[in-house]
Symmetry: C2
Amino acid sequence: MAEAPYAYAGLDRLFHERARLGIVTSLAGHVDGLGFSELKALCGLTDGNLNRHLAVLEEAGLVTLDKGYTGKRPLTRCQLTDAGRLRFAEYLEVLQDVLRKASRVGAVGRGLNEEPA
Amino acid sequence: MAEAPYAYAGLDRLFHERARLGIVTSLAGHVDGLGFSELKALCGLTDGNLNRHLAVLEEAGLVTLDKGYTGKRPLTRCQLTDAGRLRFAEYLEVLQDVLRKASRVGAVGRGLNEEPA
Protein backbone atom coordinates (compact mmCIF):
# COMPACT_ATOMS: atom_id res chain seq x y z
CA MET A 1 0.00 0.00 0.00
CA ALA A 2 2.87 2.37 0.81
CA GLU A 3 3.93 2.35 -2.84
CA ALA A 4 0.51 3.03 -4.35
CA PRO A 5 1.00 6.34 -6.17
CA TYR A 6 -2.71 6.75 -6.94
CA ALA A 7 -4.16 5.90 -3.53
CA TYR A 8 -4.61 9.64 -2.78
CA ALA A 9 -4.80 8.90 0.93
CA GLY A 10 -4.37 12.60 1.73
CA LEU A 11 -7.69 13.49 0.11
CA ASP A 12 -9.47 13.99 3.44
CA ARG A 13 -13.06 12.79 2.99
CA LEU A 14 -14.31 15.53 5.31
CA PHE A 15 -13.40 18.11 2.67
CA HIS A 16 -13.53 16.01 -0.49
CA GLU A 17 -17.28 15.39 -0.39
CA ARG A 18 -18.70 17.78 -3.00
CA ALA A 19 -21.18 19.71 -0.84
CA ARG A 20 -18.69 20.10 2.02
CA LEU A 21 -16.04 21.33 -0.44
CA GLY A 22 -18.43 24.13 -1.36
CA ILE A 23 -19.28 24.90 2.27
CA VAL A 24 -15.67 25.06 3.41
CA THR A 25 -14.52 27.08 0.40
CA SER A 26 -17.30 29.59 1.12
CA LEU A 27 -16.35 29.83 4.79
CA ALA A 28 -12.63 30.09 4.02
CA GLY A 29 -13.34 33.29 2.13
CA HIS A 30 -15.30 34.85 5.00
CA VAL A 31 -13.09 35.28 8.04
CA ASP A 32 -16.02 36.57 10.15
CA GLY A 33 -18.21 33.64 9.20
CA LEU A 34 -21.47 33.45 7.29
CA GLY A 35 -25.11 33.22 8.29
CA PHE A 36 -26.89 29.93 7.59
CA SER A 37 -29.03 31.47 4.83
CA GLU A 38 -26.11 33.14 3.05
CA LEU A 39 -24.17 29.90 3.15
CA LYS A 40 -27.19 27.98 1.86
CA ALA A 41 -27.49 30.35 -1.11
CA LEU A 42 -23.76 30.23 -1.93
CA CYS A 43 -23.73 26.44 -1.93
CA GLY A 44 -27.14 25.77 -3.49
CA LEU A 45 -28.08 23.33 -0.71
CA THR A 46 -31.37 22.59 1.03
CA ASP A 47 -31.76 23.35 4.75
CA GLY A 48 -31.59 19.64 5.54
CA ASN A 49 -28.45 18.99 3.53
CA LEU A 50 -26.63 22.04 4.84
CA ASN A 51 -27.55 21.12 8.44
CA ARG A 52 -26.33 17.58 7.95
CA HIS A 53 -22.97 18.60 6.48
CA LEU A 54 -22.42 21.36 9.05
CA ALA A 55 -23.02 18.84 11.83
CA VAL A 56 -20.27 16.60 10.37
CA LEU A 57 -17.87 19.53 10.16
CA GLU A 58 -18.71 20.77 13.66
CA GLU A 59 -18.29 17.28 15.12
CA ALA A 60 -14.79 17.18 13.58
CA GLY A 61 -13.92 20.57 15.09
CA LEU A 62 -13.60 22.23 11.68
CA VAL A 63 -16.44 24.75 12.05
CA THR A 64 -18.29 26.46 14.89
CA LEU A 65 -22.03 27.11 14.80
CA ASP A 66 -23.22 30.01 16.96
CA LYS A 67 -26.97 30.02 17.39
CA GLY A 68 -28.13 33.53 18.19
CA TYR A 69 -30.65 36.13 17.13
CA THR A 70 -30.62 39.17 14.91
CA GLY A 71 -33.49 41.18 16.38
CA LYS A 72 -36.13 38.49 16.84
CA ARG A 73 -35.01 36.32 13.94
CA PRO A 74 -32.88 33.31 14.79
CA LEU A 75 -29.47 33.45 13.12
CA THR A 76 -26.92 30.66 13.03
CA ARG A 77 -23.46 32.00 12.29
CA CYS A 78 -21.08 29.44 10.75
CA GLN A 79 -17.36 29.95 10.97
CA LEU A 80 -14.28 27.96 10.05
CA THR A 81 -12.05 27.23 13.07
CA ASP A 82 -8.30 27.82 12.90
CA ALA A 83 -7.83 24.05 12.90
CA GLY A 84 -10.31 23.78 10.03
CA ARG A 85 -8.47 26.43 8.06
CA LEU A 86 -5.14 24.68 8.50
CA ARG A 87 -6.50 21.25 7.59
CA PHE A 88 -8.25 22.70 4.56
CA ALA A 89 -4.95 24.22 3.39
CA GLU A 90 -3.37 20.76 3.66
CA TYR A 91 -6.24 19.22 1.71
CA LEU A 92 -5.80 21.83 -1.03
CA GLU A 93 -2.14 20.95 -1.34
CA VAL A 94 -3.02 17.29 -1.91
CA LEU A 95 -5.71 18.27 -4.41
CA GLN A 96 -3.16 20.38 -6.26
CA ASP A 97 -0.88 17.37 -6.46
CA VAL A 98 -3.69 15.14 -7.75
CA LEU A 99 -4.52 17.66 -10.42
CA ARG A 100 -0.89 18.04 -11.44
CA LYS A 101 -0.60 14.26 -11.92
CA ALA A 102 -3.94 13.90 -13.68
CA SER A 103 -3.39 16.86 -15.97
CA ARG A 104 -0.01 15.55 -17.02
CA VAL A 105 -1.51 12.28 -18.24
CA GLY A 106 -4.66 14.09 -19.39
CA ALA A 107 -2.60 16.25 -21.72
CA VAL A 108 -1.28 13.10 -23.40
CA GLY A 109 -4.70 11.46 -23.35
CA ARG A 110 -6.54 14.40 -24.83
CA GLY A 111 -4.64 14.19 -28.10
CA LEU A 112 -6.66 11.17 -29.16
CA ASN A 113 -5.49 11.33 -32.76
CA GLU A 114 -1.84 11.79 -31.94
CA GLU A 115 0.78 9.11 -31.55
CA PRO A 116 1.50 8.36 -27.91
CA ALA A 117 4.78 9.95 -26.82
CA MET B 1 -29.75 27.32 -7.35
CA ALA B 2 -28.51 28.76 -10.65
CA GLU B 3 -26.64 31.48 -8.81
CA ALA B 4 -24.90 29.25 -6.25
CA PRO B 5 -21.20 29.81 -7.00
CA TYR B 6 -20.07 27.04 -4.65
CA ALA B 7 -22.50 24.31 -5.71
CA TYR B 8 -19.75 22.68 -7.83
CA ALA B 9 -22.39 20.81 -9.84
CA GLY B 10 -19.80 19.90 -12.47
CA LEU B 11 -17.82 17.76 -10.01
CA ASP B 12 -19.05 14.48 -11.52
CA ARG B 13 -19.43 12.01 -8.65
CA LEU B 14 -18.31 9.16 -10.89
CA PHE B 15 -14.82 10.67 -10.96
CA HIS B 16 -14.79 12.64 -7.71
CA GLU B 17 -14.99 9.63 -5.41
CA ARG B 18 -11.45 9.21 -4.10
CA ALA B 19 -10.78 5.60 -5.15
CA ARG B 20 -12.27 6.14 -8.61
CA LEU B 21 -10.18 9.29 -9.04
CA GLY B 22 -7.11 7.11 -8.53
CA ILE B 23 -8.37 4.39 -10.89
CA VAL B 24 -9.23 6.78 -13.71
CA THR B 25 -6.01 8.78 -13.36
CA SER B 26 -4.04 5.52 -13.58
CA LEU B 27 -5.96 4.38 -16.66
CA ALA B 28 -5.70 7.81 -18.33
CA GLY B 29 -1.93 7.43 -18.29
CA HIS B 30 -2.02 3.99 -19.92
CA VAL B 31 -3.55 4.17 -23.38
CA ASP B 32 -3.34 0.37 -23.83
CA GLY B 33 -5.03 -0.27 -20.50
CA LEU B 34 -3.81 -1.97 -17.34
CA GLY B 35 -4.18 -5.45 -15.90
CA PHE B 36 -6.34 -5.79 -12.80
CA SER B 37 -3.33 -6.52 -10.56
CA GLU B 38 -1.27 -3.61 -11.83
CA LEU B 39 -4.22 -1.28 -11.32
CA LYS B 40 -4.79 -2.66 -7.83
CA ALA B 41 -1.17 -1.97 -6.89
CA LEU B 42 -1.19 1.55 -8.34
CA CYS B 43 -4.34 2.47 -6.42
CA GLY B 44 -3.71 0.59 -3.18
CA LEU B 45 -7.15 -1.03 -3.28
CA THR B 46 -8.38 -4.46 -2.26
CA ASP B 47 -9.76 -6.85 -4.91
CA GLY B 48 -13.27 -6.26 -3.63
CA ASN B 49 -13.04 -2.48 -3.69
CA LEU B 50 -11.42 -2.35 -7.10
CA ASN B 51 -14.05 -4.71 -8.53
CA ARG B 52 -16.85 -2.64 -7.07
CA HIS B 53 -15.55 0.66 -8.46
CA LEU B 54 -14.72 -0.83 -11.86
CA ALA B 55 -18.28 -2.14 -12.11
CA VAL B 56 -19.61 1.39 -11.50
CA LEU B 57 -17.31 2.83 -14.18
CA GLU B 58 -18.12 0.05 -16.68
CA GLU B 59 -21.86 0.48 -16.10
CA ALA B 60 -21.44 4.18 -16.95
CA GLY B 61 -19.54 3.35 -20.15
CA LEU B 62 -16.32 4.95 -18.90
CA VAL B 63 -14.15 1.82 -18.85
CA THR B 64 -14.10 -1.55 -20.60
CA LEU B 65 -13.14 -4.76 -18.82
CA ASP B 66 -11.80 -7.51 -21.09
CA LYS B 67 -11.64 -10.83 -19.29
CA GLY B 68 -9.06 -13.00 -20.99
CA TYR B 69 -6.05 -15.18 -20.25
CA THR B 70 -2.30 -14.73 -20.33
CA GLY B 71 -1.15 -18.31 -20.75
CA LYS B 72 -3.36 -20.15 -18.27
CA ARG B 73 -3.69 -17.23 -15.83
CA PRO B 74 -6.87 -15.20 -16.01
CA LEU B 75 -6.19 -11.57 -16.85
CA THR B 76 -8.71 -8.74 -16.77
CA ARG B 77 -7.56 -5.81 -18.87
CA CYS B 78 -9.07 -2.47 -17.83
CA GLN B 79 -9.16 0.38 -20.26
CA LEU B 80 -10.62 3.88 -20.35
CA THR B 81 -13.10 4.36 -23.22
CA ASP B 82 -12.91 7.43 -25.47
CA ALA B 83 -16.07 8.70 -23.79
CA GLY B 84 -14.47 8.15 -20.40
CA ARG B 85 -11.38 10.06 -21.44
CA LEU B 86 -13.40 13.02 -22.68
CA ARG B 87 -15.61 13.16 -19.59
CA PHE B 88 -12.57 12.90 -17.34
CA ALA B 89 -10.98 15.86 -19.16
CA GLU B 90 -14.18 17.85 -18.46
CA TYR B 91 -14.09 16.82 -14.80
CA LEU B 92 -10.46 17.96 -14.55
CA GLU B 93 -11.40 21.37 -15.90
CA VAL B 94 -14.04 21.78 -13.18
CA LEU B 95 -11.57 20.58 -10.55
CA GLN B 96 -9.06 23.13 -11.78
CA ASP B 97 -11.68 25.83 -11.37
CA VAL B 98 -12.55 24.68 -7.83
CA LEU B 99 -8.91 24.75 -6.88
CA ARG B 100 -8.41 28.17 -8.40
CA LYS B 101 -11.30 29.55 -6.31
CA ALA B 102 -10.30 27.76 -3.12
CA SER B 103 -6.63 28.68 -3.41
CA ARG B 104 -7.49 32.31 -3.90
CA VAL B 105 -9.37 32.45 -0.60
CA GLY B 106 -6.93 29.98 0.96
CA ALA B 107 -4.06 32.37 0.29
CA VAL B 108 -5.89 35.04 2.28
CA GLY B 109 -6.92 32.58 4.95
CA ARG B 110 -3.49 31.13 5.43
CA GLY B 111 -2.04 34.44 6.63
CA LEU B 112 -3.79 34.01 9.98
CA ASN B 113 -1.82 36.79 11.61
CA GLU B 114 -2.24 39.27 8.81
CA GLU B 115 -4.96 41.86 8.44
CA PRO B 116 -7.64 40.72 6.03
CA ALA B 117 -7.32 42.55 2.69
